[in-house]
């Protein structure tokens, strides 16, 4: 069926062209022989081909173009004919009107009319007026549109525009404008009417065809925009109101959208700016289905481009209160178009925001207003389900970030978080990540507690569980990613002033503590370190602030930290808590706060005892404890004894013998701090090492009992190294003979039958021996010391 139609149409078009060409041929002959009568007759017959109703606009256009070319020749002929004086142009103007069929008649009339204007025998305005009036006879939309488009085409260079030769006397630019406006109005009416003609089932096809014809209508606006005489005043007083009147009154979706777009595109930005009110007032009056958001977006985009183009125009924007008007109009449009999907409304706001950011980047209050309006629109609605709308909101929220490159600015926008509230949780998080990334990218420093407060309000989607998020939906990796970014963010919160910094820390702490067990392990450490940084800073300034009333003291901070870490330990994430305790202890140590440090250690030990059950974790933990403790130098003897005692005690209680052994020999360092005034308790060092040896022996035996093979000799070698260390450090308890004994023990062990050969141990031992050898050969004090040892 459809195919048939297409084929038929081709056939009809071919017939039309054939008829046209035949008559054109006769017409040419008449033209060549200066036979006016025949020329008129055949041209009318030729034009009769345009009377067809069977062609689609597309095909009709082809026919029209061919006729157009022929009419150019005819026009030349008319021109010659009248200049020769064989027929006056007035007579000719009458003569062509004798044609019985209206369509050929009007095409001819327009053609002669063009010559008539050129001859200047009558005022251009009268001829134009007559032509545009007579064209009313064609009420068929397609034929009428093409005819009027022909009229527009032939009259274009003959309008009495300013500076045109047809202007002057009675002909003013007003007449030109009037003419074009009238033609435009009539064309638009025809175009709009097209949709109602023909069967309902072909509506879609007709709409498609109409769309193809739209440029014929829009051309008039283009002509208007090119009339020199249309200055701002005229545009304001005449052109725009008239065009808009037509646009509004035609009550047609397609036309309204296209024409609004056209107006915005063809007229200069300056005009738009000055007539913003009028233009915008038309928007709410359009049909509810018109895609007005695109129109307005275009307008705003153009205006903002205009604003950016030159700094001189900016005052104009202020003068006409462009923002207020746009904002107002958008509100009205949204109100008027009840059925507009939420995404439409939001994208309007996005456009407005973009405009604001480009034009009034200094007016944060405007930005906030836009967001506020958006919030009002969204309020009372559930969270957005529509993914497009969500995308638009993300765009809305991202725009200020991109513009200002500075979240600090965005934080001043009170409506910003309120908009975010309307996002679904997933998007909310995405947005929060975007915000954080923006901060990271620009290494923005957030420097006051208020801002931090606002910021955390924004990213609360990341900070705590939102209502109704099923936990199992979370992707592990995404979650980690998010939390890591939060962790990074915490490092960006900084203020030189300790007091403010303290406030920031408190704020952050308050927020992150709401995070729940899964988040705390990510968020607490950065907070702790941030706080410790502050502590160190305070410590550095110590001298300066002495004597004054200091609001922030390390002590206070530590107190805070203690509580924070406690939260972590209850999560439970004891290992992490333990590490943090140790970090704090170390910091406290540096601040000379013995009780605080002691407290931290206590906490660490408690954790170790109560929470750390896994043997491997225990090993790691005990080594950490030992390591930290070793460096502590503020403890008094008693405290230190207690702690070292505990540490050694725990070391010996580790599950596996090798672990025990290693922990114990590590403990030996607790008694020997290689500092100026460090503790140097050689006896207890030896005690530890001996104990380690015992444990190593036990391990050895246990291994041979259970597996029938020798245990790890490596332990012995390791202990040997410890011996050597303390030997070198001058521990009097460690003598060459003791070392000699140990070497021999190892050698025997290695040569025993049931020893399992282990190349790495062999190598380790060999290199240890080599070291001894080397020291001996080096000579000097150390060489002498090593001298007695025989390898």
């Amino acid at each position: 069926m459809l195919l048939d139609n297409a084929e038929d149409e081709e056939k009809w078009l071919a017939e039309g062209i054939a008829g046209l060409q035949q008559n054109a041929f006769y017409m040419h002959r008449a033209l060549d022989s200066n036979n006016l009568r025949d020329a008129l007759k055949y041209s009318a017959q030729m034009l009769s081909e345009l009377r067809t109703s069977r062609l689609s606009p597309h095909k009709y256009y082809e026919l029209y173009m061919r006729s157009f070319d022929e009419l150019r020749k005819l026009e030349m002929f008319f021109k010659e004919e009248t200049s020769r004086g064989s027929c006056s142009v007035i007579d000719l103007y009458e003569l062509v009107q004798h044609a019985g069929n209206i369509l050929p008649r009007l095409y001819l009339l327009c053609t002669v009319g063009s010559v008539y204007i050129k001859s200047k025998e009558a005022p251009a305005k009268d001829v134009l007026k007559d032509l545009v009036e007579m064209c009313r006879g064609i009420q068929n939309p397609v034929r009428g549109l093409f005819l009027r488009s022909y009229l527009s085409q032939v009259s274009r260079d003959k309008l009495p525009d300013i500076g045109s030769e047809y202007e002057g006397d009675a002909n003013t630019v007003n007449d030109a404008v009037e003419f074009v406006l009238q033609n435009f109005t009539e064309m638009n009416k025809l175009w709009v009417r097209m949709q109602h003609q023909g069967p309902v089932r072909e509506k879609e096809k007709r709409e498609k065809e109409r769309n193809e014809l739209r440029d014929l209508v829009g051309k008039n606006l283009h002509v208007l925009s090119q009339i020199e005489g249309v200055d701002l005043d005229m545009y304001k007083e005449t052109v725009l109101p008239r065009v808009l009147e037509q646009v509004v009154n035609c009550k047609d979706e397609l036309a309204q959208y296209y024409l609004m777009d056209c107006i915005i595109q063809v007229f200069p930005d300056e005009y738009h700016l000055q007539t913003l009110e009028t233009l915008l007032a038309a928007c709410p009056q359009l049909q509810p289905t018109v895609d007005i958001k695109t129109v307005l977006s275009q307008l705003m985009e153009r205006l903002s481009n205009y604003a950016v183009s030159s700094s001189e125009v900016l005052p104009e924007f202020l003068q006409v209160e462009a923002f207020a008007k746009l904002s107002n109009a958008i509100g009205k449009v949204i109100e008027a178009q009840v059925d507009m999907p939420i995404v439409g409304a939001i994208s309007l706001y996005v456009s407005l925001l973009t405009f604001t950011l480009r034009v009034h980047s200094d007016r944060l209050d405007y930005v906030d207003q836009v967001l506020g309006a958006c919030v009002r629109k969204l309020s009372g609605k559930a969270k957005l389900e529509d993914s497009k709308a969500t995308k638009q909101i993300v765009a809305l929220l991202s725009a200020p970030l991109e513009k200002y490159n500075d979240i600090v600015t965005a934080l001043k926008l009170s409506n910003y978080p309120r908009v975010m509230d309307h996002l679904d949780n997933g998007t909310n998080k995405v947005m929060a990540v975007v915000i954080i990334q923006s901060i990271m990218k620009n290494t923005t420093c957030i420097s006051t507690a208020d801002k931090v407060e606002a910021l955390f309000e924004l990213i609360k989607g990341l900070i705590k569980d939102m209502d109704g998020t099923p936990a199992d939906e979370l992707d592990e990796e995404d979650f980690k990613e998010e939390q890591n970014s939060v962790a990074r963010l915490i490092h960006m919160l900084f203020n030189e002033d300790p007091e403010e910094m303290m406030k920031i820390i408190c704020t952050v702490r308050r927020h992150i503590l709401q995070g729940g067990p899964t988040r705390l392990p990510f968020t607490v450490p950065p907070l702790i370190f941030s706080a410790l940084k502050l502590v160190r800073r305070l410590q550095g300034q110590d001298g300066d602030v002495a004597g004054e009333e200091v609001p922030v003291t390390p002590k206070k901070i530590f107190q805070l930290l203690n509580q924070t870490i406690e939260a972590l330990s209850s999560v439970p994430s004891p290992e992490l808590a333990l590490r943090l305790y140790l970090q704090c202890a170390e910091a406290a140590n540096d601040c000379d706060l013995e009780p605080v440090a002691y407290e931290f250690f206590t906490q660490a030990f408690i954790l170790y005892e109560e929470e750390i059950a896994d043997s491997k974790a225990q090993v790691t933990a005990i080594h950490l404890i030992i390591g930290t403790l070793q460096r502590m130098n503020i403890f008094g003897v008693e405290n230190r004894d207690t702690l070292t005692h505990k540490a050694t005690g725990y070391s010996a209680k580790l599950l596996k013998k090798p672990d025990q052994c290693r922990a114990v020999y590590a403990c030996s360092h607790l008694f020997w701090v290689d500092d100026q005034d460090g503790i140097k308790d050689g006896e207890r060092v030896l005690l530890c090492l001996k104990r380690a040896l015992r444990i190593a022996n036990a391990a050895q035996q246990m291994a041979s009992v259970t597996r029938g093979t020798g245990g790890p000799i490596t332990l012995f070698v390791e202990i040997l190294n410890k011996y050597l260390y303390f030997f070198e450090k001058g521990n009097p308890q460690i003598t060459g003979s003791v070392i000699q004994g140990l070497i021999e023990l190892i050698t025997t062990e290695m040569q025993s039958d049931n020893a399992t050969p282990d190349p790495s141990v062999d190598a380790f031992f060999a290199s240890t021996l080599r070291y001894i050898q080397f020291q001996k050969q080096k000579g000097g004090t150390m060489g002498e010391k090593y001298e007695p040892i025989k390898v």
Binding site: H98, I102, L103, G137, I138, Q139, P141, R143, K189
Partner: protein, 301 residues
């Protein structure tokens, strides 16, 4: 053949010439055989002056009982062909009975001749003016010669010329208001007007304006009415909507019109009508006919 023709040939040639024959305007008249001929043009109250020239065929004499010239206004009804009704008859005696031997010319003059009706060639009727020269003879038939001339009478601009304005329609279907600027038009006039659509519920395809001529002849039961459509002028193409107004501008000059003739000598009338026709998509025609009065305006230089 020639001989035979010669035998019945009248013994003389008669020619009638008008005094101002060379300068006088002529009218082109369509003859019955379809050809056009140019004939001298007169109007009422004019002097018709000229001469009759009788030239006997060489070597013959014309014996006669008198020569006269008549000016006749005749109406001929085609259903009664050959039977002329003379409404005007003027006679001038040109010569007393006698003989004519050689070429002889007689001047004649009819002064301020009342010729109230215009010449007209219609479908069923003809109104003509002739000059008829008769050479009466005793035993043989009279020698007669005719000269046609054409009469057109001019009317001044009518003092009252109202527009024609009317609202017509079919209930709930089509309402239009049409307006023609005048009700009386001269022959080279232009009909200006507009059609305003008040209500359109039918799908109109096009609209045209027809000029129709109604010629009615005879009277009583013998009345013959003949209507011709002289012009079909398309005014509109496509379907208008409510509120559209379509301009009308129809030049009358291309059409072969006459003034309106009302009851000419109780024999006939010729009237003109404007017929507005709307055609819908099913080719149904809706029309409204309005009489217009045609008149002949004196031709100005």
């Amino acid at each position: 053949m020639n001989f035979l023709v010669g035998a019945f040939k009248p013994p003389c040639n008669i020619s009638i010439t008008f005094a101002d024959g060379r300068t006088r305007k002529q009218a082109s008249v369509k003859k019955e055989n379809g050809q056009t001929a140019m004939v001298p043009l007169f109007q009422s109250q004019e002097n018709i002056v000229g001469e009759v020239c009788i030239e006997p065929v060489l070597g013959k004499k014309v014996e006669h009982n008198g020569v006269k010239i008549e000016l006749l206004g005749q109406i001929e009804l085609y259903f009664d062909r050959g039977n002329f009704y003379d409404f005007t008859s003027l006679v001038r005696e040109l010569d007393v009975p006698g003989e004519i031997y050689e070429r002889k010319t007689y001047p004649f003059e009819f002064s301020t001749v009342e010729m109230p009706y215009e010449s007209y060639n219609g479908v069923n009727i003809r109104l003509r003016y002739i000059l008829k020269v008769t050479i009466s003879r005793n035993f043989v038939s009279n020698i007669v010669e005719y000269q046609d001339f054409w009469v057109r009478n001019y009317t001044p601009l009518p003092p009252i010329n109202n527009s024609i304005k009317m609202e017509v329609g079919i209930e709930d279907c089509l309402h239009i208001e049409f307006e023609y600027s005048k009700s009386k038009y001269h022959l080279k006039d232009v009909i200006i007007g507009k059609i305003y659509f008040l209500l359109v519920r039918i799908k109109i395809k096009n609209m045209e304006l027809e000029i129709r001529r109604r010629e009615s002849t005879g009277s009583g039961s013998n009345t013959y009415v003949e209507t011709e459509t002289l012009a079909k002028y398309e005014l509109m193409d496509g379907a208008p909507v409510r509120g559209e107004s379509i301009p009308v501008r129809l030049f009358l000059s291309p059409y072969d019109l006459t003034p309106t003739y009302r009851n000419i000598n109780n024999k006939f009338s010729v009237k003109y009508y404007l017929n507005l026709v709307l055609v819908d998509e099913e080719d149904r025609r809706y029309f409204k006919q309005q009489e217009i009065t045609m008149y002949r305006l004196p031709e100005t230089l």
